[in-house]
């Protein structure tokens, strides 16, 4: 609980003090912002629509497929094959520096970035994350150990994963900047597991993540695992990132 609170980062500010991120994420998030710090900067307004649940609509962002976009986090599920990695997977392994010339905000280069996701994993990973000559991965769920995404602050890392077709990462813990970049871009759900599952789930296992239930089911082994609630990061990622979320909720004017 505490961890999800601290991970909610700047999201906590968007909630009322009465509903901390530790509150049940299952019910539609009822967001009231009595004390949103007014930004005096011109492009932003401090207006804020009180009930997010009604505001969020389906807007798939670059990485989303319609089947994985329900209208609120309580029913969001991801189903697919998982790819398992270990501890301290740094962003150089997620997207090596030689590919950082690709600019994520450029759509064509976004796709290209995806094709190199996790190409930096050492050859000890016998099964590659993306098959040769493919641009997408067949593993929509990535399972990691502790300190996932450590190292460089490159936003290319969550972007590459999202562009490759990853919907969610489930790790024991995250490095700060990777977590924040995942939420800010809305590219992948960085979910924390209650227990260490990266050694119990094998690459190729069929898994389901039920975000609302904070549960991961491994259909191959028949085991179930408790996840830490995604909290208020959920609606932001679902909206497609921090800017999309701010527009949907009326925090900043729609374009």
């Amino acid at each position: 609980m505490a961890a999800s609170l601290s991970q909610a980062l700047y999201l906590a500010t968007f909630t009322s003090s009465a509903s901390k991120p530790s509150a049940s994420p299952i019910s539609p998030p009822s967001i009231k912002v009595p004390t949103f710090s007014p930004l005096t900067v011109q492009p932003l307004s401090s207006a804020f629509t009180p009930n997010v649940a009604h505001v969020i609509t389906l807007t798939p962002h670059a990485t989303s497929t319609p089947s994985s976009i329900p209208s609120d986090t309580s029913t969001t599920t991801f189903h697919g094959l998982c790819y398992a990695v270990g501890d301290n997977i740094d962003t150089d392994q997620i997207i090596p520096a030689e590919y950082l010339t690709l600019v994520p905000s450029n759509p064509a280069e976004y796709e290209k970035l995806g094709s190199y996701a996790l190409i930096g994993l050492p050859s000890s990973y016998a099964t590659r994350f993306i098959e040769p000559n493919e641009t997408k991965t067949k593993y929509s769920i990535l399972i990691g150990g502790a300190n996932f995404g450590c190292g460089s602050s490159r936003e290319h890392a969550p972007v590459a994963l999202g562009a490759a077709g990853v919907k969610a990462v489930v790790a024991e813990s995250y490095a700060r900047i990777f977590f924040r970049n995942s939420v800010a871009t809305g590219e992948v759900y960085p979910v924390e597991s209650e227990v260490r599952i990266c050694e119990e789930c094998k690459t190729g296992d069929v898994v389901t993540i039920e975000l609302g239930e904070s549960r991961l089911i491994n259909h191959t082994t028949g085991k179930e695992y408790k996840l830490k609630p995604i909290g208020d990061a959920g609606p932001v990622i679902e909206a497609g990132g921090i800017f999309a979320y701010a527009r949907k909720t009326g925090m900043i004017p729609s374009q």
Partner: protein, 510 residues
């Protein structure tokens, strides 16, 4: 109580076991929290912990109600709040936003998408844009990315853009600096008490100046470009007290490798790391930068060194912007405090493939190496090259493996060619390096620290073993996935170059 707080691992002899450490400001409630935290760290790397809110004792003085740490104070001022506690989320006014050629184009893309093609940045004088990563390469996309920066700076009339156009000769580009974190300091953009954000994880380097500095992603940077603000969570602070005279064979790199080895690569995740003590006070600015540079390798959000006369002197001829340093209150509450007796520390390395894989340099004396790399924001500053030259000078021998030298900035390059090395009879670093058989100092940039495009100078294109003064040794960091990187101080790197094995610099620095 105190001893349990300050000696998280009794295996290390550098940590004192003094009982009397004066933790009067430590509320008893936080002890549990620290124990819990320690347990998690030792059992397993746990990167995310909510800052434990502890009760704070009211201060005895009238003016200060509750003690705050330096980091809390800087963020309080920047968010225009009288008081902050760890865990508070606040909108912070940014003093400087830095970006470079790797993340700048993406940040600019987001800024334009979200604020409009013709939007104006929040303050053209508070944005510093420094091409430094992929400069001396024929990679077309890398070259294009510098063009994108140039066009944007022209459009927005950005005041501080350190451009490079003639890639064949960096000296023909008077504006070009090189590695952003070193250039920020040399150009006077790092000032005590301020908030500096940058699209690079090593932005934390600037904490050496007693400011809050941390790395952010493109999306956050796009937001800052438009608004000058960012929502930040106030981190709890870990305090590292380093006392004792620094032995002549140690450098700040050894200190930070010691600390990362102690707390692990996730030991400071979401936290601030404050460095104090007589040893820290004795360090020059570049050494303090090395210390703060690698806090991100422990997962830290920022690192800080209190500003003092060394800081003020360094800034004297670099900035005319008024600044106001802040310091931790005596009553400030720290999540945890670590004490080190530096006089007992020995030269260290971080073995492959993690910066916390600490070992004594002398324990690795049988590790045969293929090359040595001296460069980067961590180990490519003037003081780093002076240190390496000192070892070569003391030995009078030639290097046994290829030794690559990549000055961080144009200023560092100039220093290598002009500054006399103390005790060398007027010789410069460049002369000493040449006599020792090192490669000619390369054009200043991030170079092979992070691999980069295939044609990057000194990139590890084959699975070699390298001793490097850089900051990361994860698989593939310097190019080849099976390459092995031993992180070390410039002393240890130079000593290793002379023997062809990982070598304790005491073999040469008598």
């Amino acid at each position: 109580m105190a001893s349990s707080l300050v000696s998280p691992s009794p295996t290390s002899s550098f940590i004192s076991n003094k009982k009397d450490l004066g933790f009067s400001a430590f509320p008893s409630t936080s002890q549990v929290a620290i124990r819990k935290c320690k347990k998690q760290v030792s059992k397993q790397i746990v990167s995310v912990m909510a800052p434990q809110q502890s009760e704070r004792k009211p201060a005895t003085t009238g003016s200060v109600k509750t003690g705050m740490t330096m980091t809390e104070k800087i963020l309080a001022r920047a968010s225009e709040k009288p008081q902050l506690s760890p865990g508070d989320n606040v909108w912070v006014n940014v003093d400087i936003l830095m970006t470079h050629d790797v993340c700048g184009p993406g940040s600019i893309g987001i800024f334009k998408k979200e604020f409009g093609e013709n939007a104006k940045v929040w303050d053209r004088e508070k944005i510093v844009i420094i091409p430094d990563h992929y400069i001396f390469t024929s990679d077309e996309r890398a070259n294009r990315n510098v063009d994108i920066l140039r066009d944007f700076c022209k459009e927005e009339n950005i005041k501080y853009f350190y451009d490079i156009k003639d890639l064949s000769n960096f000296k023909a580009n008077p504006d070009y600096k090189g590695v952003c974190h070193v250039a920020l300091a040399q150009e006077g953009h790092c000032r005590p008490g301020e908030v500096l954000l940058g699209t690079d994880s090593h932005t934390c380097t600037a904490g050496a100046f007693g400011q809050f500095a941390t790395g952010i992603g493109n999306t956050d940077a796009g937001f800052v470009l438009g608004t000058g603000k960012l929502l930040l969570k106030v981190p709890p602070t870990l305090r590292f007290v380093m006392d004792g005279e620094m032995p002549h064979y140690l450098l700040a790199k050894d200190l930070i490798l010691q600390i990362i080895g102690e707390i692990s690569v996730a030991g400071a995740t979401y936290k601030s790391m404050e460095f104090v003590g007589t040893t820290v006070e004795s360090l020059n600015m570049e050494e303090r930068m090395t210390l703060c540079n690698m806090v991100v390798e422990a997962g830290g959000k920022n690192g800080v060194v209190p500003a003092d006369s060394t800081t003020f002197k360094y800034l004297e001829d670099k900035t005319s912007v008024p600044y106001e340093p802040v310091y931790s209150d005596a009553q400030a509450s720290f999540l945890s405090e670590y004490r080190f007796d530096i006089s007992k520390l020995e030269p260290l390395v971080a073995k492959p493939h993690s910066p916390d894989n600490r070992a004594l340099a002398r324990e690795c004396k049988d590790v045969k190496i293929d090359r040595v790399y001296i460069g980067s924001c961590t180990g490519g500053k003037t003081e780093d090259f002076l240190a390496a030259a000192k070892v070569f000078l003391a030995s009078g021998k030639k290097v046994k493996v290829p030794t690559f030298l990549v000055p961080a900035t144009q200023k560092v390059w100039l220093d290598i060619y002009t500054l006399p090395v103390p005790g060398a009879g007027g010789k410069t670093c460049s002369q000493i390096f040449e006599e020792a058989g090192c490669d000619t100092p390369a054009s200043p940039s991030c170079g092979a620290c992070l691999g980069g495009p295939k044609d990057t100078y000194a990139r590890m294109n084959e699975p070699k073993v390298c001793v490097s003064t850089t900051n990361r040794n994860f698989p593939g960091r310097m190019g080849h996935k099976e390459g092995q990187i031993y992180l070390a101080s410039p002393y240890t790197a130079a000593a290793s170059a002379l023997t062809g094995y990982v070598t304790d610099p005491r073999e040469f620095l008598l």
